[in-house]
């Protein structure tokens, strides 16, 4: 599936008019002769079909091409950038799931109460925040006006000279606001889903049986929660692409030098090798996310286990 997605993506991108060397900015700075040589080096002079075959052959060797916006191999760019984005995304995903499940399960067990209605409204509002705007608002509030957190980047310059503990703290300090932007929205997303799942499960016959035989309410909730976790596990897999989309915006606002920012620069600079590779990587992440969700589902739900 990743392969098909990759092919579709590269075909689509190749149909684009112009390439890295017809871009206005590049033309202005580069003599015509140099430009011609570069075109041959990058294989841009070949007919599209031949370019495509070359590309596939390179992909099968694990070579994702040459990034024209960073002037180095795409593999190298990705090796450097992916971990930074994954840090951000996985911390946000973990926190969203934890807080969202806790909040949503509580709400689902108290549907219609004052607390439930208040939290429902809060999560509806958070859910409605565009990712980039929540990042801007957090930045204005906590970085620019209150000055509690740095506004941009991943480390301060001093970090290089100080001890590793200080460097780690410095990194965590830089991570807080980007992480919070993604987590607030993610938590709302999960909580909305968990609340609905919990509410539905509370009407199921087995819950009534449990109540009927006089089980303590806390134990009833424990049983219900396990059943209500299933749809949320599936949601966890689906969160990966939307978290990535969020990461693109958040990275661009906090100048977090991860994949999102690199891909954004790549699209602006018509660096198609990097864009194509980015699409492949994110598709792979999406597929991996739903696969992991599927596995977790089998752990959580005995009915889906095979054999």
């Amino acid at each position: 599936m990743v392969f098909v997605a990759a092919t579709a993506a590269s075909v689509l991108i190749r149909t684009a008019p112009g390439d890295a060397l017809t871009d206005e900015g590049t033309i202005g700075r580069m003599p015509a002769a140099v430009r011609a040589t570069r075109r041959v080096q990058l294989g841009l002079d070949l007919p599209p079909a031949q370019q495509y075959v070359r590309r596939l052959r390179a992909y099968s060797r694990g070579d994702l091409g040459w990034s024209t916006s960073e002037e180095r191999p795409v593999n190298e760019v990705l090796r450097e950038r992916i971990p930074r984005t994954l840090w951000l995304m996985s911390l946000a995903l973990a926190a969203s799931l934890l807080m969202g499940i806790a909040l949503g399960a509580w709400q689902g067990a108290h549907v219609g109460s004052r607390g439930d209605r208040a939290w429902s409204f809060v999560s509806l509002v958070l859910f409605s925040f565009p990712e980039f705007w929540i990042a801007i608002v957090l930045m204005l509030l906590f970085a620019s006006w209150l000055g509690w957190f740095p506004t941009m980047g991943m480390t301060s310059d001093i970090a290089f000279e100080s001890s590793s503990m200080r460097a780690l703290l410095d990194r965590a300090h830089h991570l807080v606001l980007p992480w919070l932007s993604l987590t607030l929205i993610g938590t709302a997303y999960v909580a909305r889903f968990q609340r609905a799942a919990m509410r539905d499960v509370f009407g199921a016959p087995f819950v009534q049986t449990a109540r009927g035989k006089g089980l303590a309410e806390a134990a009833v909730r424990r049983h219900a929660l396990r059943a209500a976790l299933l749809p949320v596990i599936a949601l966890g897999g689906m969160l990966v692409p939307s978290l990535f989309a969020g990461a693109v915006f958040v990275e661009s606002i906090f100048a977090w030098p991860g994949m999102g920012l690199a891909l954004l620069n790549a699209t602006q600079g018509r660096d198609y090798d990097l864009v194509g590779a980015g699409i492949i990587v994110v598709s792979a992440m999406t597929v991996a996310g739903s696969f992991a969700a599927e596995l977790l589902r089998e752990v959580a739900d005995p009915r889906t286990r095979r054999g």
Binding site: A8, S113, W133, V137, G203, A228, T267
Partner: protein
């Protein structure tokens, strides 16, 4: 989405007296009033922008004396670096943002419904192939595709953006329509229709389509909400509409580099975006609670 336990109206009634927290849903339609009224208000404001706006959104009255003014009584939301009135721009921006979102969602609903209907009716191999294709499409990162596709052009025309958003937004609709039709196809009334020889097309338009309306309505409002935010994001990054008439995202893009000093360029259009998305999500939730008790994933 596989529902856990019994769902639907009967299940709702059956469980009501037994559950611990009594279901507060007898007046479901009343819960629709507020979000519906707010949605209408939003549309009205967009339509009435020329009456409500104190100035033209593109007029540059005095580019020296009136540029980048903070909010005041003369300029409620301040002015931008071309001395344009931000309040007027936000009001007019509602037109662009809302029409981009609703037109592209209309396209997505049409495409998704056709695709889902074909898959459900054809069944067998066709269905399997169509669904596998959908899996692949779903794995493609929408935002990256949109960024890449809109970077092909130096200027993104309105229709191009609408088509881009519409053609990348229908996958979820197709899935849901397919499963909804599949569940309808096993119902008695459709067996009866088939037995009496109703043609397939008529079966779809007269018998099944009415059953799809709740699902589609929920999708439409949640989809519009999502697309307003997406369009704002694209335009904010500089990939959206670049017309003299601004969208909320474009206004925020103008404030991109001066976000700290001229916060009003980012905060007010952002608030407008948030409100619009909130209202549409609220409407979607209320519609879902009222008409489609089954989960419709956003």
């Amino acid at each position: 989405m596989a529902a856990l336990g019994p769902t639907g109206r009967n299940a709702e009634l059956a469980r009501a007296p037994l559950s611990a927290a009594p279901s507060k849903r007898p007046h479901t339609h009343r819960a629709l009033r507020t979000p519906l009224a707010l949605t209408l208000l939003l549309v009205l404001v967009a339509l009435a922008a020329p009456i409500l706006a104190p100035a033209s959104p593109i007029a540059q009255p005095d580019i020296v004396a009136q540029r980048s003014l903070p909010p005041s009584f003369a300029h409620l939301f301040g002015t931008d670096s071309y001395s344009r009135d931000v309040y007027a721009r936000v009001l007019y921006g509602a037109r662009v943002s809302l029409s981009v979102a609703s037109l592209s969602v209309a396209i997505a609903l049409l495409l998704g419904t056709c695709y889902g209907a074909i898959a459900a009716f054809a069944g067998g191999t066709v269905d399997r192939v169509l669904m596998r294709t959908l899996d692949v499409l779903l794995a493609l990162p929408r935002l990256l595709l949109l960024l890449a596709l809109s970077s092909f052009r130096d200027e993104v025309p309105f229709t191009y953006l609408v088509i881009l958003l519409g053609f990348t937004g229908w996958y979820g609709v197709a899935r849901n329509v397919r499963s909804e039709i599949q569940s309808q196809l096993t119902r008695d009334y459709l067996h009866a229709a088939r037995a009496t020889g109703v043609p397939r097309i008529r079966m779809l338009t007269r018998h099944i389509l009415p059953h799809l309306i709740p699902v589609l309505a929920v999708y439409a409002s949640l989809g519009v909400a999502q697309t307003i935010a997406l369009e704002a994001g694209l335009s904010y990054l500089g990939f959206g509409v670049r017309a003299p008439n601004p969208s909320w995202g474009t206004i925020m893009h103008d404030g991109f580099s001066v976000v700290r000093d001229q916060w009003w360029l980012t905060v007010f259009p952002g608030l407008a975006t948030l409100l619009a998305v909130l209202v549409c999500n609220w409407l979607g939730d209320a519609l879902r609670d009222a008409f489609a008790p089954e989960q419709v994933p956003a």
